[in-house]
């Protein structure tokens, strides 16, 4: 820096200021951007903290009363924005859908706009959803993508699904009319359904308590805490925030017993219990879009529902399908699947490299039952024994091994 140079050439500051004081003044100006950056950083850091502070003061309520409040809740009209984060500890469930769901949803003849295929994508990652409902006959669910949107609109007998990324439409017309509501059925993520599922599982194996109050989407809410009493479950705690005014579950969090962030974290970021605009339930396929009609709507729906149901049962390890045998009860129930000779033959018939690969994905374990491989996710673990039996459950590795030992 040569301050006097500048003074000469631009004819501004004259020689009366000493170099030192010019330097100080120059430095002083840089305080402005630094201060602006500081204020911005402080605002970003502080505003959410300030907004979060101060859980509302609500009259005390028992867990029983709160559960009843949920059950009694009869809000038919609502619209809102949901944020769902799911981290099952799988690389990407989207890619596994085909192999997990029998019937190959991703086949060439099925539309990419078919609801089941799209909605299973919600099982991993973070998604923003918009929900609107007006009574049992009109619902709308949209999954907001980057520059695209996937919407399922149910209006009376029609179910439309529109995928704006591929400009494809899927249409299903239910002959029976109001009897079937595939749109809400296919939604795994609304807080209400999740809460109901969790409460249905509640019995003497479960502790249900009220864990203070909170604010969700600007509304006062009670927090219901559901914890397994048994040890060995991978589920640590389930928290459901319930609207204090109308009993609608607003937020659902499933924390694993191993710690870390929630496996499932679904909640409204904005919610409104007024009647949604009627236009949001009307849908006409855009000109030129490829429309796939669901063939034989009624049968197909049942079949799909069965598939989905079976899949869910398998996941929760409570299923009773043919060779499946359930060990234990409640949170630590383990499904035992005797695959028998065929699968065992398959396994040992595999090339050594493939077996090595299988081993790389799982942990080798051994016990009284012999030896096997444990495949772990954050929620569901599975033990594949070398003789071809499979033990699956939302339980820890040790619990699986113990179950295998006892079953022997």
């Amino acid at each position: 820096m040569a301050p006097n140079d500048s003074a000469e050439t631009t004819g501004e500051a004259t020689g009366e200021v000493t170099g030192g004081s010019v330097g100080r003044r120059k430095a002083a100006r840089y305080i402005v951007p630094v201060a602006v950056a500081g204020v911005a950083a402080a605002t970003i850091g502080l505003v959410p903290a300030l907004a979060d502070s101060g859980d509302p003061d609500l009259p005390a309520i028992t867990a029983q009363e709160l559960v009843e409040k949920i059950a009694a809740s009869d809000e038919q009209q609502l619209s809102g924005t949901l944020k769902i984060s799911t981290d099952l500890g799988l690389p990407s469930l989207g890619g596994l859908t085909d192999s997990l769901l029998p019937g190959g949803q991703g086949g060439a003849d099925t539309s990419s706009a078919a609801p089941e295929a799209k909605l299973t994508e919600l099982a991993s990652g973070t998604h923003t959803l918009r929900l609107a409902a007006d009574g049992p006959d009109r619902q709308r669910l949209s999954v907001l993508g980057k520059g695209s949107e996937y919407s399922v609109v149910h209006n009376g007998a029609d179910v439309w699904a529109y995928d704006s990324a591929s400009d494809e439409v899927y249409h299903q017309r239910a002959e029976g009319g109001d009897k079937d509501h595939p749109a809400p059925k296919g939604v795994p993520g609304t807080p209400k359904e999740m809460a109901e599922e969790a409460l249905a599982a509640a019995d003497k194996t479960t502790s249900v308590t009220v864990d203070g109050t909170t604010r969700v989407a600007g509304r006062d809410a009670y927090r219901l805490l559901i914890k397994p009493k048994q040890s060995g479950s991978t589920i640590g705690a389930i928290r459901v925030a319930v609207d204090a005014a109308n009993g609608v579950p607003l937020k659902f969090t499933l924390a694993p017993s191993g710690g870390g962030k929630g496996v499932v974290d679904a909640g409204f970021t904005q919610v409104d219990f007024a009647k949604p605009d009627a236009s949001s339930f009307s849908f006409t396929p855009p000109k030129g879009a490829r429309v796939t009609e669901a063939d034989e709507p009624a049968e197909r729906t049942d079949e799909k529902a069965d598939e989905l149901g079976a899949f869910q049962k398998e996941l929760s390890g409570l299923g009773d399908l043919g060779a499946v045998n359930v060990i234990g009860e409640g949170w630590t129930a383990i499904a035992e699947i005797k695959a028998g000779e065929a699968a065992a033959g398959d396994l040992s018939g595999m090339p050594a490299e493939a077996q090595g690969l299988l081993g790389a994905f799982g942990d080798k374990v051994s016990g009284d039952f012999g030896s096997g491989t444990v495949f772990k996710t954050r929620l569901v673990n599975a033990l594949l024994t070398d003789d071809g039996s499979v033990y699956v459950g939302a339980v820890t590795k040790d619990a699986l091994v113990k179950a295998a030992d006892t079953a022997r």
Binding site: T9, E12, A13, V17, P33, V36, E149, S164, F283, T284
Partner: protein, 291 residues
């Protein structure tokens, strides 16, 4: 610290500023380089339109079935208005800001390089005012560049494809008039999205006396930011980068409009304008102008 800053006559200066801005704008927009950039920007929607037209000429759906490529590409062949959105999605990540980087980077450093900066400072405008004028002209260029893409997209879309009622990406329908309105709003949001990057370019421009160096550095910062934003392991810094929420303009095509990310994007841009604008001011008002 400049005495000119303090002694500029206040009553004369308002008129002076407009005069300065006017001549600045004329200089920027008439420059051959600027015209060439705008010409290339105008060609992008036309190229996209022709490519889609050729590909869908036999009635087959546009693009790969999965909806790859820039957003809205699959809707273009059914509604020409979507060419505006597709073109903006295609140019916004790199091309559009690159032209802004060239103009912003050149704004001060180019004058210094050409030796004309000292003459500008002799006039009793003051350095702060001069800087503000420079920044305003860069902002005007942001708007002009965005509008060039949008208008070219609209014209090409209307000529090559049918236009009419618009289906929002939520699947609801809006009239063509409202569709045009949304397109205008989108162009405005895109132009404003570039303001943070323009301020950054202006700051870089005050750091050096070489126009080329300033342009290269500004465009380099843009590319670096885009790369960092694209790395999944660096997700944590993403929300603080200026390009992170640029594509949020697509939320204007939802029904109802999803404002959250648009507002957050504008907030991020405001912070960048404040920080780098004041940094450019601190640098420029204390800089030694030797050339």
């Amino acid at each position: 610290m400049s005495r000119a800053d303090l002694t500029a006559a206040p009553e004369r200066s308002a008129l002076w500023t407009f005069g300065l801005l006017g001549s600045e704008l004329t200089t920027v927009l008439r420059r051959g380089r600027t015209l060439a950039l705008l010409g290339v920007l105008a060609a992008v929607p036309v190229l996209i339109g022709i490519a889609v037209r050729i590909e869908t000429g036999d009635g087959s759906p546009a693009g790969p079935g999965g909806g790859g490529g820039p957003a809205f590409l699959s809707q273009v062949s059914h509604n020409g208005l979507f060419l505006v959105f597709a073109a903006l999605s295609a140019t916004l990540p790199v091309f559009l800001p690159m032209t802004v980087g060239v103009v912003a980077g050149d704004s001060v450093a180019g004058e210094a390089n050409a030796g004309t900066l000292r003459y500008l400072l002799v006039a009793p405008a003051g350095r702060s005012r001069l800087l503000l004028t420079k920044y305003t002209s860069v902002l005007v260029f942001c708007l002009v560049a965005t509008l060039v893409v949008a208008v070219s997209g609209l014209v090409a879309g209307a000529l090559l494809f049918p236009v009419g009622e618009v289906t929002t990406i939520s699947g609801t329908r809006i009239g063509f008039g409202e569709g045009l309105l949304r397109a205008g709003l989108i162009a405005l949001v895109v132009a404003v999205s570039l303001s943070g990057f323009a301020a950054l370019g202006l700051f870089v421009s005050t750091l050096t006396d070489s126009g080329i160096a300033a342009m290269a550095a500004t465009v380099g910062v843009l590319i670096t930011a885009q790369i960092v934003d694209g790395i999944p392991q660096l997700d944590a810094v993403g929300p603080y980068l200026f390009p992170h929420l640029w594509m949020s303009f697509t939320d204007l095509l939802r029904a109802p409009v999803y404002w959250d990310e648009i507002v957050r994007n504008l907030g991020v841009q405001a912070v960048y304008v404040a920080v780098f604008g004041s940094a450019a001011w601190a640098r420029f008002t204390t800089k030694d102008i030797t050339v």
